[in-house]
């Protein structure tokens, strides 16, 4: 039996897919969708850059999670030694951690620039109000990412900064709400191993799930409404 040419295999796969979904039509539509010329301005790229950075953060975060140990018991704590291990021993660990760290900083800058562009050009106006709300929520989530990620290295700076943050959150009125937030975040009488466990869970499971969901909604809205009118 002759070995089929790779092109024939590809065609067969495309045909198989086409029978189950209008696949080639979808590719064609995606490729040749029209975009207004004014959207070529550099500041229309900010949203795309935010997306690229979020993907980069998710990927580097997964790689860091392979070695990170969310345990704050003992001195030095395994969390601290694992970050040290990533930084100094793991092959290219310093680069992955550095990329995650600087990517987070760049992400905040790009989100602010993107929001500024959307505000300045009035892209939040009808029918895009809901997308604006989704965007602002995503911005808050990104700040929450930074806040929870800050504690993970479990060094002195991270510990005391988190202690202040939790203290502030605990002072929110009414008293019951403040106490409730403090208990939820801290997980004990003082900032300790349960706090790290909770921040790790929020940073690695809860927030990524929420941001992916909101990104999906954000893109669906963009797909439905397209690019807004020029200023």
């Amino acid at each position: 039996m002759a070995i089929p040419h790779p092109r024939d295999i590809q065609l067969a796969v495309v045909e198989w897919l086409d029978e189950r979904y209008p696949f080639t039509k979808a590719v064609d539509e995606a490729l040749y969708q029209r975009v207004p010329n004014f959207a070529n301005a550099f500041y229309y790229c900010f949203g795309g850059m935010v997306f690229i950075l979020i993907v980069l953060q998710l990927l580097t975060g997964i790689l860091l999670a392979l070695y990170y140990v969310p345990d704050a018991s003992g001195t030095p704590a395994p969390a601290y030694t694992s970050v040290n291990f990533i930084q100094s021993t793991v092959f290219l660990g310093w680069l992955i951690r550095g990329t995650h760290f600087w990517g987070a900083n760049l992400l905040i800058i790009m989100v602010i620039l993107h929001m500024a562009r959307v505000y300045w050009t009035g892209s939040y106006r009808a029918p895009r109000e809901l997308n604006w709300i989704v965007g602002v929520t995503m911005f808050l989530l990104i700040l929450a990412f930074s806040l929870t990620g800050y504690l993970l290295p479990w060094d002195t700076k991270a510990y005391f900064a988190t202690e202040v943050t939790i203290k502030l959150a605990g002072s929110l009125p009414p008293v019951q709400l403040g106490t409730f937030i403090k208990e939820i975040l801290q997980g004990g009488a003082v900032v300790g191993p349960p706090t790290l466990q909770r921040f790790f869970t929020i940073h690695v499971f809860l927030l990524p799930a929420l941001i992916v969901l909101l990104m999906y909604i954000h893109f669906r809205f963009i797909r439905a409404h397209g690019i807004s009118e020029p200023m």
Binding site: V14, Q33, G98, T156
Partner: protein, 226 residues
């Protein structure tokens, strides 16, 4: 092709009239690009699996709604691929290079301090993106500066499209403006934006100036940087 398609140039010469076939496919009121302009990437092309990734977008995100480009003449629009798409892979690579270089050359920010010990005493200083908030807390009672001002700003930001849509036209009517422009062309919302950014920048710089840079503040006495 009939005789009408032949153009005589010079004695006895006959050449076929150049015709660019336009593929009539419904694409939101636009004809697809003429055949000669389209990329020769069909289902049998070696690069087809690469462009297939783009198809995931409409598959996952559903059909496109009515876009602004659908009502614009062809010469004021361009195809998404490759005209609009090509900068993004370059931007992605550039950003990767930038963060890689930062990770390589600016190691100082990545160095760990000693392992956390609750018995030590350290005055914490948050990262740059929370520094303005940290400084804001010093300007008044903590309860107001943390529990009222930031939630209020976030709420205003969230509902701003509705504020702009409801209060904007009323103000425009009072000012006898024909319409309520977007912030980029609006003295009120534009100025609010610039002032807001300036306040954040000032608080940030104040905090960055360090603990020795103190300014008298009417509500809380001397306020120093972080």
């Amino acid at each position: 092709m009939g005789d009408q398609g032949l153009v005589k140039k010079g004695p006895g010469a006959a050449t076929a009239e150049t015709q660019v076939p336009v593929i009539e496919v419904e694409s939101h009121g636009h004809n697809l690009e003429p055949d000669y302009k389209r990329l020769p990437i069909g289902p049998d092309h070696i690069l087809y699996p690469v462009v297939v990734g783009l198809a995931l977008f409409p598959i996952l995100m559903g059909d496109a709604g009515h876009h602004l480009a659908d009502d614009m003449p062809d010469d004021e629009t361009h195809p998404f691929f490759p005209d609009h798409f090509w900068p993004y892979p370059i931007i992605a690579v550039l950003m990767l290079v930038v963060v890689g270089l930062l990770a390589f050359f600016v190691q100082k920010n990545l160095q760990l301090e000693v392992s956390a010990d609750p018995r030590t005493v350290t005055i914490p200083r948050p990262d740059w993106y929370f520094l303005f908030l940290f400084q804001l807390l010093k300007l008044g009672p903590e309860l107001i500066m943390f529990g009222v001002v930031p939630p209020l700003i976030v709420t205003v930001l969230l509902v701003f499209p509705f504020i702009d849509a409801i209060a904007g036209p009323r103000l425009a009517k009072r000012l006898r403006w024909k319409s309520w422009p977007v912030p980029g062309r609006n003295i009120y919302t534009g100025a609010a934006f610039v002032i807001g950014l300036a306040v954040v920048a000032l608080l940030e710089l104040w905090a960055l100036a360090g603990p020795l840079f103190c300014v008298p503040w009417p509500l809380t006495g001397m306020v120093c940087g972080a």
